[in-house]
C-alpha cells in the first residue's frame, strides 16, 4: 500500500485566525472520498517542518505572529525543500504575504518573506479590504469563478516571476491595478499569485480562511498539481453547489461589505 498523502498545516497557532484549518480538512476529505489515504500533519513552532509532504498550507494571522511565522519557517527550511521537491504550497492572506519576498512588518518595518511567491506586499493608505471577493480565474487554470471573503490591509504587487490566480470582479484582491500589476496596466485588479518553485508550485490568495470550502475545483486543482490527475474526479456535493450559487448571486446583487468601504478616489475612478 502506498504511503498516505501528507498535508502539512503550518503553524495554525500563529496563522489560523479565520478558520484556515478548514482548507486542510477539505483537501483531506476530498482525497478520502476518492479512496486516497491522506493525513493532516499539524506543525507548530518548535516542530521541524517535514520536507516530504505533498501539500503545505499557510493561513491568515495578525501582524506579530505573521512576522514570527516568516522567521521560523525561513530558519527551518522544510517548506522550501518540500515545495522545491515537487510539493504544492497554498497560502492564504497573511500566509500569502509571508510566502512572498517582503511584507509589512509590525511597527512600520519591512518583513522578509520566504520568496516562494514572486510578490511583494506594501502598506498603503487605502482602507482595510473587508468583504465578499469574487474572482475570474486565469484562463489557463480552467477553473470556475472563485468566491470568498477578504479581510486584509496590505496590497500586493506581482513581480516578474509570478502570474495572478485571477482578476477581481468584486472586491479588492491584490489592490488597485497601479499597485497590483507589475506594469501598472489598466483593467481589473489582480488577485492572488502563482509561482513555479523548482519541481513544485506556490499559490497565494486573499480569499481568506476556508477558501477551498467554497471553491472545490481550486481544491482539486491543487490536489492534481501535487498528486496528478488521478487525485481529481467528480464528487456529488449539492451543498457546495448551492452555497456557490448563493454567494455569487449575493455579490452580483451588490450585497457585499467590501464595495461600501472603497475610498472616494476609487468611486470617482469607477465612474469615469
Amino acid at each position: 500500500m502506498a504511503e498516505s498523502v501528507g498535508i502539512a498545516l503550518l503553524y495554525p497557532g500563529l496563522l489560523g485566525t479565520y478558520g484556515d484549518g478548514g482548507n486542510a480538512v477539505v483537501l483531506e476529505r476530498r482525497l478520502a472520498w476518492r479512496d486516497i489515504a491522506a493525513e493532516i500533519v499539524v506543525v507548530e513552532p518548535g516542530d521541524p517542518v517535514p520536507d516530504t509532504c505533498q501539500l503545505y498550507l499557510l493561513g491568515g494571522g495578525e501582524d506579530g505572529p505573521q512576522s514570527q511565522a516568516a522567521r521560523l519557517l525561513d530558519e527551518d527550511g522544510g517548506v522550501r525543500r518540500g515545495v522545491e521537491g515537487g510539493g504544492v504550497l497554498f497560502a492564504v492572506c497573511a500566509g500569502m504575504q509571508i510566502a512572498g519576498t517582503t511584507f509589512p512588518g509590525p511597527r512600520g518595518g519591512r518583513g522578509s518573506g520566504l520568496g516562494l511567491l514572486d510578490i511583494e506586499t506594501l502598506r498603503t493608505d487605502e482602507p482595510r479590504a473587508v468583504g465578499e471577493l469574487a474572482v475570474e480565474p486565469g484562463q489557463a487554470l480552467d477553473l470556475e469563478r472563485l468566491t470568498g471573503f477578504e479581510n486584509h490591509a496590505g496590497r500586493t504587487r506581482l513581480l516578474p516571476g509570478a502570474r495572478p490566480l485571477g482578476h477581481v470582479s468584486v472586491g479588492v484582491g491584490n489592490g488597485s491595478p497601479s499597485v497590483s500589476s507589475a506594469d501598472g496596466a489598466d483593467g481589473p485588479a489582480t488577485e492572488g499569485a502563482i509561482t513555479e518553485v523548482g519541481a513544485g508550485i506556490a499559490v497565494g490568495t486573499y480569499l481568506h480562511g476556508p477558501a477551498l470550502a467554497r471553491n472545490p475545483d481550486l481544491a482539486d486543482w491543487l490536489l492534481a498539481a501535487a498528486l496528478g490527475d488521478e487525485a481529481r474526479g467528480p464528487l456529488d456535493e449539492p451543498e457546495v453547489v448551492a452555497l456557490r450559487a448563493e454567494r455569487l448571486a449575493a455579490v452580483a446583487a451588490g450585497r457585499t461589505d467590501g464595495v461600501a468601504r472603497r475610498t472616494w478616489r476609487d468611486r470617482l475612478l469607477r465612474r469615469s
Binding site: 489560523g16 479565520y18 478558520g19 478548514g22 480538512v25 477539505v26 495578525e62 471573503f149 481568506h208 452555497l243
Partner: protein, 402 residues
C-alpha cells in the same frame, strides 16, 4: 432592560458626558468582561450580591456606555452594582466606573471582520489595569486573560478551567509556544501552563474548582450546586462566587442564590415547539460553539444549529471551520439560518447527517429535526443552538419572558 432605556441612556450621555461617573459614584461596583459568559457571570454575581441588598445590573446584556447608564439610572438607590462590559469597552470605561472588583473570564476569537484581534484586546486590558485600584478576579486557566489582568496591583487568580486553547498556543507576552500540563496531574481544572520562552505561567491559584466545589486557598470549600449546564457554566459560577465573596457575600448563601438561576436572558430556556421540548442555546463564536456542542452531546438527539451573518453576528462565517462539528457525528442536524448553506458545507465535510432550512423559524426547524431522525414527535427533546441574531429571532418567536 428594553431597547428604549438604552436609547434613553445614549441621549443622557449626550447631555451629560460625565453621567456614568456620577451614576457610579458612591456605589460598590463589580464589572464583568469576557468573550463568552459575561451575561451569565453578571447574572450569577448579581444574584449572589442580592443576598446583601439591592443590586443595579444590566441583566439583558446591553454592555456599552448607554446600557450601563440605563442600568445604574434605573436603580439609583442600589448600593451595589454588577455591570457587564463589552471586552472592547472595558479600557475606556474603567476610569469612570472606578469599580471595586473587575471580573475577567476568557478571551477568544470573535467576529474578526469587525472587531479587534484577540491579542490586541488582551493588550488593551493590560494597559487599562496597570495602576488601577480595583481588585481583579481572573481566570488563571486562560493565558490571554492572565496577560490582560497581570498588570493589576491585586489579582485573585481562579483556576476556573478553559475549553478553548486555539488562541493561546503562542505566548501573549513573547510569542513563543505555551505548554499545557495534563489537568489530571495538576491542581485546578484546566491544568498548569507555562511559556517555553519567557516566565509567563499560570499564577499560583487563590481559588479553584475541585470535583464541582469551589475551593479557596484558605481551605474554604463551597458546593456550587449550579442549575446551568456544562463546563463553561461551572467556570462562570466559580468566578462569580469568588468575586461575590471578595465583595463580602457569605459564599454558602451566595452559591444557593446562584443555584436558583435556571436561564439567563433566554439562554437554556426550555419551550415546547411542535410538541417537542426544545432547549435554546446561544453561541456566538468558535469557543462558544464548542462549549454548546458539548452541552448538547450525550443524548443522540437531533440538534438545530442556526447561523446568521448580520452585522451583529459578523458578516463572515469562516469561523464555522474553527468549530469541532465532527463531535456531532451520528446525530441528525438541522442547518438553519440565513447562512444555512455555509453550515451545510461544513457539516458535509464533518460527515454529519443534516438537512438545511434557510431561515430561523423554530417550528419549521423542530419539525425538520423530528422528521430527519425518523422518530417524529418521539424525538423527545432537541437542542437549538443559534448565533446572536438567530437566537434573538427565536426569543421573539417563543416570547422573551418564557
Amino acid at each position: 432592560m428594553g431597547t428604549g432605556s438604552v436609547i434613553g441612556g445614549r441621549a443622557s450621555l449626550v447631555v451629560e458626558p460625565r453621567l456614568l461617573e456620577h451614576l457610579a459614584g458612591g456605589r460598590r461596583l463589580a464589572v464583568v468582561s469576557a468573550t463568552n459568559g459575561k451575561t451569565t457571570m453578571t447574572r450569577l454575581l448579581a444574584e449572589a450580591l442580592r443576598t446583601m441588598g439591592p443590586v443595579a445590573s444590566n441583566a439583558e446584556g446591553a454592555n456599552m456606555a448607554a446600557g450601563l447608564v440605563a442600568a445604574l439610572g434605573s436603580a439609583p438607590d442600589a448600593p451595589r452594582g454588577v455591570l457587564e462590559i463589552d471586552e472592547r469597552w472595558l479600557p475606556p470605561l474603567l476610569g469612570d466606573l472606578n469599580p471595586e472588583i473587575v471580573l475577567l473570564g476568557n478571551l477568544s476569537r470573535d467576529q474578526l471582520d469587525r472587531t479587534q484581534e484577540v491579542r490586541k484586546l488582551a493588550d488593551g486590558w493590560r494597559a487599562a489595569l496597570d495602576g488601577a485600584s480595583a481588585a481583579v478576579v481572573a481566570n488563571a486557566d486562560d493565558p490571554l486573560v492572565v496577560w490582560g489582568a497581570g498588570s493589576a496591583a491585586s489579582v485573585c487568580w481562579v483556576g476556573a478551567g478553559s475549553g478553548w486553547r486555539a488562541d493561546a498556543s503562542a505566548c501573549p507576552a513573547c510569542g513563543e509556544r505555551l505548554r499545557f500540563e495534563d489537568p489530571a496531574t495538576s491542581p485546578g481544572p484546566g491544568g498548569a501552563w507555562a511559556c517555553t520562552g519567557c516566565d509567563l505561567a499560570r499564577p499560583t491559584l487563590d481559588a479553584w474548582i475541585d470535583d464541582g466545589d469551589v475551593v479557596w486557598s484558605d481551605g474554604t470549600r463551597i458546593a456550587s450546586g449550579q442549575a446551568l449546564p456544562g463546563r463553561a457554566n461551572a467556570e462562570n459560577a466559580a468566578l462569580a462566587l469568588v468575586a461575590a465573596r471578595s465583595m463580602g457575600a457569605d459564599p454558602a448563601r451566595a452559591a444557593e442564590a446562584m443555584g436558583r438561576v435556571q436561564e439567563v436572558a433566554g439562554r437554556y430556556r426550555r419551550t415546547v415547539v411542535a410538541g417537542i421540548t426544545t432547549r435554546l442555546l446561544l453561541a456566538k463564536n468558535p469557543a462558544g460553539w464548542a462549549e454548546s456542542l458539548d452541552m448538547a452531546i450525550g443524548a443522540g438527539r437531533p440538534v438545530i444549529a442556526a447561523i446568521n451573518a448580520r452585522i451583529a453576528d459578523g458578516r463572515d462565517p469562516s469561523w464555522l471551520w474553527d468549530v469541532p462539528f465532527e463531535r456531532l457525528r451520528g446525530r441528525f442536524v438541522v442547518a438553519a439560518g440565513e447562512r444555512a448553506l455555509d453550515l451545510a458545507v461544513r457539516l458535509r465535510y464533518a460527515e454529519v447527517d443534516h438537512a438545511t432550512f434557510p431561515g430561523t423559524d423554530l417550528g419549521a426547524c423542530v419539525r425538520l429535526a423530528a422528521e430527519g431522525c425518523g422518530r417524529g414527535a418521539d424525538a423527545g427533546a432537541v437542542d437549538a443552538i443559534g448565533n446572536y441574531t438567530a437566537f434573538q429571532d427565536w426569543l421573539d418567536e417563543v416570547g422573551r419572558d418564557g
